[in-house]
């Protein structure tokens, strides 16, 4: 059954873990700054969950970087090919 299986690898990768470490923030601190739960930060950093576009923009704004420097689309993990 679908819900019993772990979350499959998502095609969108991110550098949130590295950027948070650079700022020396804990997951709880980052969660507070973004007004989300600590569990959501963990799910984002472990790439089990892709943020909505508004949340992605808030993350980019908080780290002071453009979206594409934080979130990277990995074609190989989704099995898609370039057309």
């Amino acid at each position: 059954m679908h819900i019993l299986h772990p979350v499959p690898a998502l095609p969108v990768k991110n550098r949130m873990h590295v950027l948070r470490a650079e700022q020396r923030w804990t997951q709880a601190e980052l969660a507070e700054r973004l007004n989300v739960s600590r569990q959501t930060i963990n799910a984002l950093e472990t790439e089990k969950y892709d943020p909505s576009l508004p949340l992605a923009f808030r993350i980019a704004r908080l780290f002071g970087k453009p979206l594409e420097e934080i979130f990277l689309y990995d074609d190989t993990s989704s099995g898609e090919t370039h057309r």
Binding site: H5, S37, Q39, K48
Partner: protein, 135 residues
Amino acid sequence: MNTKPRISPETACKRYQWEMVAGMALYALFVWVCVQLLKHLPSGPVRISLALLPALPVVWVIWAVVRYLKFADELQRRVHLEALSIAAGVTAFLSLTYGLLEDLGGLPAVSAWWGFVILDMVWACTSFILFRRYR
């Protein structure tokens, strides 16, 4: 949603848990009070009104769920809505199946109260399983 929530998802979660426990405790208390009072009351409007008393804390619990979902973050909202969808589907399927067995299969009638129990139980179990996937 463009407006910034007034409280954090963590605070919303704690408040929801407290309201859920308090609401269900009040529900149990009201059921006990009703059972004691209804023992000596004849059928009629007063009895019907008293029998509905335990529904009041349930209304409060439903309101708490709606408020929690409003202040939850997007992952929490997604998990709960997915869990609620599954719970609603399972409850609908079981009600339909037992309705057929009751009307056509000759099985004994079961209280409609079980719909509430099944929905809550499946929702709780599914939420637990879905949240574990994101840990």
